[in-house]
């Protein structure tokens, strides 16, 4: 790790200011992605701005037609929250299966969405549920937010403050783990919402999380068997040591079916 200056502002406004005045400032939330990167010397920011002291960024509340989760809420809190379990059990289930206990205690929803790892779990929930990402500047619809792997609509220095999830009629998440990292080799989030059925896939796409049209079409009446029959093209899917594009395509329809069957 290279040396850096450390800041711990007490408000979002101060954090924005600190990022803006640093020559190469970087926000740190749970540090579960950023710290390993620094330790491997793959990044060497001049300043780290820790969001941990900003009370406004924490917590989970029921709001309007759904729930709102503060950006600095760790995965373990989402997993065990009665509000989340009551409104969107699939989201609590998803959070409970991110990484390990230590990662869930530190890693945050804001960090996960800002990072947009192509194999991360939260992006599937955000896109699958049609969430809204709130920042210090604006609100961004999930459909506009994810812009390819490790790439989002966030501008330089823009800070996620919270995520709003509308409550679906039913939703389910099935994660098939990459055996070594236990990130998602393929993760499929299905949601039956007022606006129709939404499906989001993580882990498989070359461009990160995406909505497979074929599966959404097949799932018009939210039947598990129909999902399994959906043919997903493998052309834009990842191929690596742990799974070919064809395998991932196959898993998408299998997992979609299982997610529908398990949906609550």
């Amino acid at each position: 790790m290279h040396n850096f200056a450390f800041h711990r502002p007490a408000s979002v406004a101060d954090a924005v200011k600190a990022v803006g005045s640093a020559s190469d400032g970087k926000i740190i939330a749970g540090g579960q992605t950023l710290l390993p990167t620094l330790r491997q010397r793959l990044a060497s920011p001049s300043d780290l701005i820790d969001l941990g002291a900003i009370a406004d960024l924490k917590g989970i509340k029921a709001e309007g037609d759904g729930i709102t989760i503060g950006a600095m809420t760790p995965h373990a809190e989402v997993a065990s929250s009665a509000i989340v379990q009551g409104a969107i059990p699939a989201l609590a289930h998803l959070a409970a299966h991110i990484g390990d206990r230590q990662v869930r205690a530190r890693g945050t929803i804001g960090g996960s969405l800002a990072n947009n790892d192509p194999a991360a779990d939260y992006p599937a929930a955000a896109l699958g549920l049609g969430a809204t990402i709130r920042t210090n500047k604006r609100e961004i619809k999930a459909d506009d937010y994810f812009q390819g792997m490790f790439s989002t609509a966030l501008e330089d220095g823009e800070i996620i403050t919270a995520v709003h999830f509308p409550k679906p009629e039913k939703a389910g998440y099935e994660k098939f783990v990459q055996p070594a990292s236990r990130f998602a080799l393929v993760g499929v989030f299905v949601a039956k919402t007022k606006g129709g059925v939404r499906v989001a896939v993580t882990g498989a796409g070359q461009e990160g999380v995406f909505r497979p049209k074929e599966v959404e079409a097949a799932l018009a009446n939210f039947s598990a068997d129909a999902a399994k029959g959906a043919k997903v093209p493998s052309g834009n899917l990842n191929s690596d040591l742990h799974g070919s594009a064809e395998y991932r395509a196959h898993l998408i329809s299998v997992l979609a079916g299982r997610a529908v069957a398990a949906a609550k």
Binding site: R41, P179, S181, H242, S244, Y247, L251, V254
Partner: protein, 796 residues
């Protein structure tokens, strides 16, 4: 030796480990915990390329960085290369090719991670900062990483002297007799197999601290080693030319080795050498990423095997051809792994009368390969047990029955195999029968049918194995190319008050020797378990030793302790005879008491010990005072643990996920000192075996030679939820040639299990037409196998 005493700490009891408090509460002292006054930190700049010429190294800027004490490159290094401890001769009698292995590369790098420069600074951060400023100009060269392709025309050449990348081309057995037997075979089963490369992944990464004392001219090396005396010998005599009396090697608490910490690594030499240069202690600690690029890796064999059977299913001949990957350099024991630790086991538990094996060792642009838990024996067991299984399927003979038909009967011991070894004891029917019973073999089909209702494919697999360990009879291994003796040393020091310190040349890095050796001594001398301390790991404390590997510690090291105790008891009897005014011949020793035959006279062991050190009433003209004895024990043969492993798996055909649902291990390991520790050793070995069968793989990019599985993001270690609760039992026949009767248990789990798992996977997949799969049988691979079998069927 006392018989099983049945007490809570005696031989055969399972007291909790003496080590538990220290290790479970984080109070161990590992190499990285050792800090010497004025210590510096070393960072090793490693090659990013698999194969390249070093055109130029510019360290000028780096040397001016804050905190830098020194930077060394290959041009600065003025001592010897790291030697290989075993010499193999090729078929034509020529010695193997032994390329030089300097701790810092002189002009060429030969694998990703090869050592280019040593940076020494006041802190590790400063050393790393400086390393980033070293400017190395490389000229990249084509690389070869594939085991099977290394000796083919057009492959990149790793060493100029090793034509076709061949290190040696060795063979064993009677080729003519095998060819003749094949000519009249009723059936021949053929199989191509890959035993994939693994990374050992000890929990504690390697570390080394070199400390040169200018006042005395002495060097001390603290290192993560399984055998400090071997390191002293190799590094002192061959690399740095430091005589033994000026070199102390300390291997303190070591967090796992699995073989990877046997070898003398060049980092050990570098910190010792550099400590003299910079006149300060130098510490190097590997991180996990570095471990993947610098710890010797394991396995990596490509084999073709053929088994000839007669019409009754008796094995009449076996023919094997193996290519073994050595990596870019020859690590300490690398050449003996695919040869004398592997091909000599090809008889397995079977009466196959003639066997011929050819083993070609090749160099590639990869990390060196050497012994990893089981070393050679897992490769052979996997080959044999897959081959026998396939023969059973092809001939239609039940797979258990086929094995039984070919077992060496228990009446046939000692049994001379056609490939050099002579097995001393065993009872393969007994371990098989017990395992079949414990593993529920008879009613398996019910479980298969029940699983089918849930949409799952269930399978059961078996492996009946033998291994050779308790390494090793020195004269035998010497004639086979070993450049060292492989005896062991034990010293027993009885203190004046009767407590005992045992000094052993073996090394404990997770095996619990402090407990089992104390049980052995306590039971034999009749002193309390709490009064026995076991010391190891320091060449200044321990007279001599060859360390711990090859499941040798109890069989060889324990036997040395027994021999030392024999001497203690003999001397103590003379002291007791003097005290009780009796003849030595009339003295009996039992449960810590010396008695005179036919009288009620007795003295305790403690009283004798005190007398030895306070010799007021003492036969001083005949006996020296004191009660301390040293013994060296050189075994007469290897020991031969064996047994049966049964695995049951369930496969989800939709995703290819394999879950191990049952595992039974019944092992014959000779006399057991502590059943709990034995169970733990088997558990650990089986988990590593399941890891090899289903999860682990070192994958290199075929073009660039980059290690694709260089972190836990891609290298799959077994986790708790990958393994079931393992059923373990022992059914022992005694080793006939050591005083304990013990055979060794450290490696059996990793040796017996992989073929049991793969045979189970193939049994599960038979109904869908799959007949072959390679390790690791990952979900992706299993799914692909099901798809291709389905396509093949559809095409019919």
């Amino acid at each position: 030796m006392a018989a099983d005493s049945g007490t809570a700490t005696g031989i055969g009891a399972s007291p909790k480990r003496k080590e538990d408090f220290r290790f479970l509460t984080g109070r161990g002292t590992y190499t990285d915990d050792i800090n010497r006054p004025g210590q510096t930190y070393a960072y090793i700049l490693r090659s990013p390329h698999a194969h390249a010429e070093i055109v130029k190294i510019d360290t000028a800027k780096a040397k001016g960085m804050p905190g830098v004490a020194a930077i060394f490159t290959g041009a600065d290094y003025d001592k010897g290369g790291v030697p290989c401890g075993w010499q193999i001769h090729s078929k034509d009698g020529s010695p193997m090719i032994e390329p030089p292995h300097f701790p810092l590369c002189k002009d060429r790098v030969r694998h990703v991670g090869d050592q280019v420069a040593l940076v020494i600074a006041n802190s590790i951060a400063e050393a790393r900062d400086a390393a980033e400023e070293i400017d190395v100009t490389y000229k990249e060269l084509p690389a070869i990483v594939s085991t099977g392709a290394a000796d083919k025309a057009g492959a990149a050449q790793v060493w100029p002297d090793a034509k076709n990348n061949t290190c040696f081309d060795w063979h064993i057995g009677d080729k003519a007799a095998v060819d003749a037997a094949f000519a009249k075979a009723h059936h021949v089963t053929k199989l191509d197999l890959i035993n994939q490369r693994l990374a050992p992944n000890a929990m504690e990464p390697r570390a080394a601290v070199g400390d040169y004392d200018r006042a005395t001219g002495e060097y001390t090396l603290y290192t993560t080693s399984q055998n400090p005396h071997v390191i002293r010998l190799l590094m002192g005599a061959f690399v740095l030319q430091i005589p033994e009396h000026k070199l102390r090697v300390v291997a303190p608490d070591v967090g796992g080795g699995f073989g990877s910490k046997i070898f003398h690594y060049s980092e050990e030499a570098l910190v010792t050498w550099a400590s003299e240069k910079v006149r300060r202690p130098v510490k190097w600690t590997s991180d996990r990423s570095e471990a993947f690029l610098s710890d010797a890796q394991g396995r990596d064999h490509v084999s073709h095997a053929e088994l000839a059977l007669d019409k009754d299913g008796k094995f009449i001949a076996l023919r094997v051809n193996t290519i073994a990957n050595m990596g870019a350099y020859l690590s300490t024991f690398a050449p003996c792994v695919p040869t004398y630790l592997s091909a000599t086991l090809l008889a397995g538990v079977y009466t196959t009368p003639v066997i011929y094996a050819e083993v070609k060792a090749v160099f590639t642009n990869t990390v060196a390969v050497d012994a990893y838990r089981g070393a050679g024996r897992p490769e052979t067991t996997y080959l044999l047990e897959r081959l026998v299984e396939k023969a059973a399927r092809e001939t239609g003979i039940d797979r258990v029955e086929l094995r039984r038909r070919n077992f060496i009967p228990k009446t046939a011991f000692p049994y001379q195999t056609p490939v050099a070894l002579q097995y001393d004891s065993g009872d393969y029917e007994a371990t098989l029968d017990l395992a079949l019973k414990m593993g529920g073999w008879a009613d398996f089909e019910n479980r298969r049918a029940e699983a089918q209702k849930r949409g799952k494919l269930r399978g059961i697999g078996i492996s009946t194995y033998i291994e050779a360990c308790g390494i090793a009879p020195s004269a035998v291994v010497g004639s086979l190319g070993a450049r060292a003796g492989l005896y062991e040393c034990g010293q027993v020091r009885v203190h004046p008050t009767g407590s005992v310190t045992v000094f052993t040349g073996t090394h404990s890095h997770g095996q619990g020797h402090e407990t089992t050796f104390a049980q052995l001594v306590s039971d034999t001398l009749g002193v309390p378990f709490e009064s026995v301390e076991v010391s190891h790991g320091d060449t200044n404390k321990i007279p001599f030793g060859m360390g711990t590997y090859g499941s040798r510690s109890l069989a060889v090291g324990g036997s040395a302790i027994v021999k030392a105790m024999d001497k203690i008891i003999a001397k103590a009897k003379r002291i007791a005879a003097h005290l009780m005014e009796a003849s030595v011949a009339d003295i009996d020793f039992k449960n810590g008491e010396f008695t005179v035959k036919g009288t009620d006279k007795k003295v305790s062991f403690g009283q004798v010990a005190l007398t030895a050190y306070v010799p007021h009433n003492y036969p001083i003209t005949e006996l020296e005072p004191g009660l301390e004895e040293t013994a060296f024990y050189d075994p007469l043969n290897f020991t031969y643990p064996g047994g049966t492993h049964i695995c049951e798996v369930e496969i989800d055909p939709e995703t290819g996920v394999t879950q191990v649902v049952n595992f039974t291990a019944v092992d014959d390991i000779g006399r057991v000192i502590n059943p709990m520790i034995v169970e733990g050793q088997v558990h650990g070995g089986v988990v590593q075996g399941i890891g090899q069968a289903l999860l682990e793989n070192c994958a290199y990019d075929q073009e660039t030679g980059q290690l694709l599985t260089g972190s836990y993001m891609d290298y799959t270690m077994p986790r708790a939820d990958d393994v079931p609760s393992i059923k373990v039992a022992t059914h022992s026949t005694m080793c006939t040639h050591n005083p304990l009767g013990s055979k060794g248990v450290g490696e059996v789990g990793a040796i017996g299990s992989p073929p049991a798992v793969i045979n189970a996977v193939l049994d599960a997949l038979r109904p869908v037409g799959v007949t072959d799969i390679s390790m690791p049988a990952t979900p992706h691979k299993v799914w692909q196998a099901i798809q291709s079998a389905g396509k093949a069927k559809a095409a019919e």
